[in-house]
C-alpha cells in the first residue's frame, strides 16, 4: 500500500510599486495596490475559484477517501481579505469538509529562518493564529518558504511543537535513497520529514503542457500507472506544487482541470495499492526509515535546489542584510502598521526578482518577475527600504540633520557677534554682566526648542534664514529647489 500526499502552495506577495528615489521621504505607499488587486482577481478567476470548486466537488464525491493539503501564506490571506473575499469563502468551504489540511508557514513567506530565529518563530505563530481564526484548524505540520529546509530549521520549528516538516527530495541530500519514505531529522529524532518527489510533482507543474515532452499528453490514467509502477516497498509519494499550476501556469486549455478531475478516481480505482493521506496523517501512520541529514539549506527552486535564487548574488545579499539590520529596531517599535509593512517587505519574492540566474536558465524566473531586470528590482527595493528606514526613524535624514545643525551654528555665531558687540559698547557700563547673562541663557534654551518643533516648520523657515546670512553650499541647493517648487 502506497500513500499519495498532495499539497498545494498558495502564495502571493504584496508587489512593490515603481518607487523612485524622489519618492523617498515623501511617499510611504510602497505597494502597488492596483497590480496586486489585478493579480489576485485574475488568478482567482483562472485558478482559485474554479479549482476550489472542483476540489470541493471531488471531496464530497469521494466521501473522505480523497484528501489534500494547502499552505496559504499570510500575505496571500491578507490580500484575499482585501481583494477576494469570495476566494476566502471558497477555501473556508473546503475547510468545512474536514478532509483538507492547512499547513503552517511563515506569515510573510519570508526567509527569516535563515536570519533571525525570534522573527522566524514570531511569523510562524502569527500565521498559525491567522489560520486558526479563519479556518478553525490548528496547523500541525510545517513547511517553510519555498521548502527551504535544513537540520537546524527543522530543530527551530520543533521548538514550536511541529513534529512534521516538508522538504525537497533533492538529489544531493538523498544520494541513492528514495524520497518515497518518511525520514527523521537527525538533530531531533522525534521530527519526521516528508520529501517532495520532484519528478512526479514537476511532471504536472512544469511538463504537463510541454508538447515536446515525450510523455505529452499526460492523462490521469497514465500518471496513475506511473504511481503503480513505483516499487511496492516504497511508502509515500509526496506531490507538492504551487496551486497556481491549476489554471494559471497550466491554463485550462491544456486540460489541467480534467486531469485533476480524473486523478482521484483513477487513484481510488486501486484501493489495494494506493490511498490518499494528508501530511499529518502520513506522519502519524508511517514509521521513518532512516535519518536524513541536511546540513545546508535546500529549497525546491531551480536545478540546484539551493538558496541561490534568492541570495545568490551581491544585490540580493545586500538587500537582505540591509533589511534585517532593522529587525531589532522594528521589534521595539510600537506601531503595528509598521511591523506589518516590515513583514511584507520580507517576502522572498522581492529577492527572487533580483536574481541574475534567469540570464542563463530561467523561463520560470522570467514568468514571475514584474521587473525588466534584476538591477531594476534591486534599485526599487532599496529605494523603498531607504524610505522605510527614514519613515520609521531607523535612520535620520542627513539633509534635515545638516539643516538643523547649520541653523544652530548660525544662531550661535549671531549671538557671539551680538555679545562681542555688547562687550565693545558696554565696556564702561555696569549693566553689561546682566545682559550677557540673559542672552547666554537664550542660547542654551533655543536649540532644545528647535528639536521639538516638527520638521515642517523648520523647512518653512529656512529660505528666509538663508537670505539673511551667508549659507553653506549644502543649504544653497535646498533653497534653490524650494523656490523652484513654488
Amino acid at each position: 500500500m502506497k500513500k499519495v500526499c498532495i499539497y498545494f502552495q498558495v502564495h502571493q506577495p504584496f508587489r512593490l510599486r515603481t518607487y523612485r528615489f524622489f519618492d523617498i521621504g515623501l511617499n510611504h505607499n510602497y505597494f502597488d495596490d492596483y497590480a496586486n488587486r489585478n493579480y489576485i482577481r485574475r488568478i482567482a478567476e483562472r485558478c482559485y475559484l474554479p479549482a476550489n470548486q472542483l476540489l470541493y466537488d471531488l471531496l464530497t464525491k469521494h466521501k473522505g477517501k480523497f484528501k489534500v493539503a494547502f499552505s496559504l501564506s499570510g500575505t496571500f490571506i491578507d490580500q484575499m481579505l482585501e481583494y477576494a473575499p469570495d476566494v476566502l469563502e471558497s477555501f473556508q468551504r473546503l475547510a468545512k469538509t474536514k478532509k483538507v489540511e492547512f499547513l503552517a508557514e511563515t506569515y510573510a513567506h519570508s526567509l527569516a529562518s535563515l536570519k533571525d530565529k525570534a522573527e522566524f518563530h514570531a511569523q510562524i505563530r502569527a500565521h498559525t493564529r491567522k489560520i486558526e481564526e479563519l479556518f478553525g484548524y490548528k496547523p500541525k505540520v510545517f513547511r517553510n518558504t519555498e521548502l527551504v529546509y535544513s537540520n537546524q530549521i527543522g530543530a527551530d520549528v520543533f521548538e514550536l511543537g511541529f513534529d512534521g516538516v516538508l522538504a525537497e527530495g533533492a538529489k544531493h541530500i538523498l544520494g541513492w535513497r528514495s524520497p518515497n519514505f518518511v525520514y527523521v531529522n537527525p538533530v531531533c529524532p522525534k521530527q519526521k520529514v516528508l520529501l517532495r518527489n520532484y519528478k512526479l510533482s514537476d511532471d504536472i507543474a512544469f511538463r504537463f503542457s510541454n508538447q515536446s515532452w515525450d510523455q505529452w499528453p499526460l492523462t490521469a490514467e497514465k500518471y496513475v500507472s506511473w504511481l503503480l509502477n513505483i516499487e511496492s516497498k516504497e511508502e509515500i509519494i509526496n506531490i507538492f506544487m504551487d496551486y497556481e499550476t491549476i489554471g494559471e501556469h497550466q491554463r485550462s486549455e491544456t486540460g489541467i482541470f480534467d486531469f485533476l478531475r480524473y486523478l482521484p478516481s483513477e487513484i481510488l480505482k486501486h484501493p489495494q495499492e494506493l490511498e490518499f493521506v494528508t501530511p499529518s496523517e502520513a506522519i502519524r501512520q508511517l514509521q521513518p526509515i532512516s535519518p536524513i541529514s541536511v546540513d545546508y539549506p535546500t529549497s525546491w527552486a531551480d536545478e540546484e535546489r539551493d538558496l541561490t535564487a534568492w541570495l545568490g548574488n551581491d544585490l540580493q545579499q545586500d538587500a537582505f542584510n540591509k533589511l534585517y539590520e532593522m529587525q531589532e529596531f522594528i521589534n521595539n517599535h510600537p506601531d503595528s502598521e509598521i511591523k506589518k509593512i516590515y513583514r511584507y517587505l520580507q517576502a522572498s519574492d522581492h529577492f527572487y526578482y533580483m536574481s541574475t540566474k534567469w540570464f542563463s536558465d530561467g523561463e520560470v524566473h522570467k514568468y514571475f518577475n514584474p521587473f525588466g531586470s534584476p538591477y531594476e528590482a534591486y534599485i526599487n527595493f532599496r529605494n523603498v527600504l531607504n524610505d522605510f528606514m527614514l519613515y520609521t526613524g531607523f535612520t535620520c535624514d542627513v539633509r534635515h540633520e545638516v539643516e538643523r545643525l547649520t541653523k544652530i551654528n548660525r544662531r550661535q555665531e549671531e549671538i557671539i557677534r551680538e555679545l562681542k558687540h555688547l562687550l565693545s559698547i558696554n565696556t564702561k557700563s555696569t549693566k553689561k554682566k546682566t545682559t550677557t547673562k540673559a542672552v547666554t541663557e537664550s542660547i542654551i534654551s533655543e536649540p532644545k526648542n528647535e528639536k521639538s518643533t516638527p520638521k515642517k516648520t523648520v523647512k518653512k523657515e529656512t529660505p528666509i534664514a538663508a537670505k539673511k546670512t551667508k549659507t553653506p553650499t549644502v543649504k544653497k541647493s535646498t533653497t534653490i529647489k524650494k523656490s523652484k517648487d513654488q
Partner: protein, 429 residues
C-alpha cells in the same frame, strides 16, 4: 578571400563610432585570414596599417577608365543637397576640394578626371559632392585591384560600393551602422534615404549591426528580410596597460559621452540630472562630445541653474576618453535611436556601470546593464541615483560587466561576417 572595403573614416581620425567599428572588424577579419583592401577618402599616414592595406582614394589616377563609370557618375549628379542637415557634420568647415565642380559637361569632366582628387576626409558641408567623387574613384580603384567581394560601410560609401560592383561585377555587401531614421528621427533627408535604399537594393546581402536596425531596414526601406543579416558589433580587446587615474573630486561623476545630437538624446540626460540634483547635490554630471545641439544644451543647463554641477568637455579622443571613464561612476547612453552603440562597452571595460536606452542595438547583447526607455527620465534618474547610492550595484557590475564585455570579441563578429561573405558568393553561383 580578399575584400575591397569602403569606409569613410579609420582610427585615429574618427568623428563617430564607425571608424572604431571598421578597425575592429578588419582586425577580426585579418585574424581569420581574410585580406582587406580598405578604402578611405583620405589617408593621414599615421593609421595602424599592420593588418590591412589602406588605400587613399586620392592616390588614384584615372584617365582612360572614365567611360566605364561615366554613366554612373551622371546619376550621382542629382544627389547634391543642402549642407546644414548633413549628419556627422564636423565642426571644421569643409574646405579643401581641389577638383572643380563637376557637371554633365563632358570636356569639364575630362579635365577633372585627369587630375588627382583630394578628399578632405571629414564629414563636411559639400558631402554629397564628395560622396559622388568617392564613387567615381571607387570604380576606378576597383578595376585596378584584385578581390572577391565588395564591402561598404554606411551610406556615405554605398555609392562607391555600387559603382565598384557595376565596374567589376563582384558581389556587394553593405553594412548598416546607422540609418537616416536614427540620425534624423522622422525628418529624414530624402536624398540620403535614396542613397541608402539604392545601396541596400543593389547589395547582394545587407549586414545590420542589431536586430533593432534590421527591423528598420526591413520596414522602412522595404528590403527583403532574407537579405538582411544581423551581426552585432564587438569591442576591441584591450591590450594597453590601463593607467590608474585618480579622481580628484569628492563627488560621484555621471558621464554622457557621444555626439551631442538629436540621435543621442542629450536633453534627456540633462532632465535626469536635474532630478538627481534635486535630491543629492554630491554628484557631478559631465557631457563629453560636440555636436549641433551643444549650444542649446549649454543654454538649458544654465537656465535650469545646475551649471555648477554640470560640465562640458568638448570632443574627447583616445586617452582622454580612457581618463574620462576612469573618473566616472556611472555612464549613461540615453540614445533616441542607436543602431548599436559601442561606447557603453568601452565604459564597462573600465568597470563603469552603464545605463543604456532600450532603443539601442547594444541592449540586445548586454545583460549586465540597466536598460531604460530613452524618454523615461524618471527611470533614468532613479537608476543613476541607485548606482551611486547602493554599493552592491557597482560591485555587481565590476564582477560581471567586464567579463561580459570581454566576451564580445571582434573575432566572433568577423566570423559571422565571413559567413555572410560566403553566402553572398554562393548566391552568385
Amino acid at each position: 578571400m580578399r575584400v575591397l572595403m569602403f569606409g569613410w573614416e579609420f582610427p585615429p581620425h574618427i568623428a563617430g563610432g564607425l571608424g572604431t567599428a571598421c578597425y575592429g572588424l578588419t582586425r577580426g577579419l585579418a585574424y581569420h585570414g581574410v585580406k582587406v583592401d580598405f578604402v578611405v577618402p583620405k589617408v593621414y599616414g599615421d593609421e595602424d596599417q599592420s593588418q590591412i592595406k589602406l588605400h587613399s582614394a586620392e592616390e588614384v589616377e584615372f584617365s582612360e577608365r572614365r567611360f566605364s563609370f561615366g554613366k554612373f557618375y551622371e546619376q550621382m549628379r542629382y544627389f547634391e543637397i543642402g549642407s546644414n542637415i548633413v549628419p556627422y557634420l564636423s565642426p571644421e568647415e569643409f574646405s579643401i576640394l581641389v577638383g572643380e565642380d563637376i557637371d554633365k559637361d563632358s570636356t569639364k569632366t575630362e579635365k577633372i578626371l585627369g587630375r588627382k582628387f583630394r578628399f578632405s576626409g571629414k564629414y563636411g558641408a559639400d558631402l554629397m559632392l564628395e560622396v559622388s567623387r568617392y564613387a567615381v574613384v571607387a570604380a576606378a580603384l576597383a578595376q585596378e585591384l584584385d578581390f572577391d567581394l565588395i564591402h561598404a560601410h554606411d551610406w556615405l560609401t554605398y555609392a562607391a560600393g555600387v559603382a565598384a560592383k557595376r565596374a567589376t561585377g563582384k558581389p556587394l555587401v553593405v553594412h548598416i551602422h546607422a540609418t537616416e531614421f536614427d540620425r534624423s528621427g522622422e525628418n529624414v533627408n530624402q536624398q540620403v534615404y535614396n542613397i541608402e535604399r539604392m545601396g541596400m537594393m543593389e547589395a547582394d546581402l545587407v549586414i545590420s549591426v542589431s536586430n533593432f536596425t534590421r527591423q528598420i531596414v526591413i520596414s522602412r526601406y522595404g528590403i527583403s528580410p532574407e537579405k538582411v543579416i544581423t551581426v552585432h558589433n564587438a569591442v576591441e580587446a584591450d591590450e594597453r596597460e590601463r593607467e590608474v587615474y585618480k579622481k580628484h573630486l569628492p563627488e560621484k561623476i555621471v558621464t554622457f559621452l557621444g555626439r551631442i545630437t538629436y540621435q543621442k538624446g542629450p536633453d534627456y540626460f540633462v532632465q535626469a540630472a536635474v532630478k538627481v540634483l534635486q535630491k543629492d547635490i554630491n554628484v557631478r554630471f559631465v557631457m563629453a562630445g560636440s555636436g549641433d545641439m551643444l549650444n542649446r544644451i549649454i543654454h538649458n543647463v544654465a537656465a535650469l541653474g545646475i551649471a555648477d554641477k554640470f560640465h562640458f568637455t568638448g570632443f574627447l579622443r583616445g586617452p582622454e576618453v580612457t581618463k574620462m571613464f576612469a573618473m566616472s561612476d556611472v555612464y549613461v547612453m540615453p540614445s533616441v535611436s542607436e543602431p548599436f552603440g559601442i561606447s557603453p562597452l568601452e565604459a564597462m571595460r573600465s568597470n563603469v556601470p552603464v545605463i543604456i536606452s532600450k532603443q539601442s542595438g547594444v541592449a540586445e547583447v548586454l545583460k549586465h546593464a540597466i536598460k531604460i526607455d530613452f524618454w523615461d527620465v524618471d527611470a533614468m534618474a532613479d537608476s543613476i541615483y541607485g548606482l551611486i547610492h547602493y554599493r552592491a550595484l557597482p560591485r555587481m557590475f565590476k564582477n560581471f560587466g567586464k567579463a561580459e564585455v570581454d566576451n564580445l570579441k571582434w573575432d566572433n563578429s568577423a566570423a559571422k561576417v565571413i559567413q555572410v561573405y560566403q553566402k553572398a558568393l554562393e548566391l552568385r553561383k
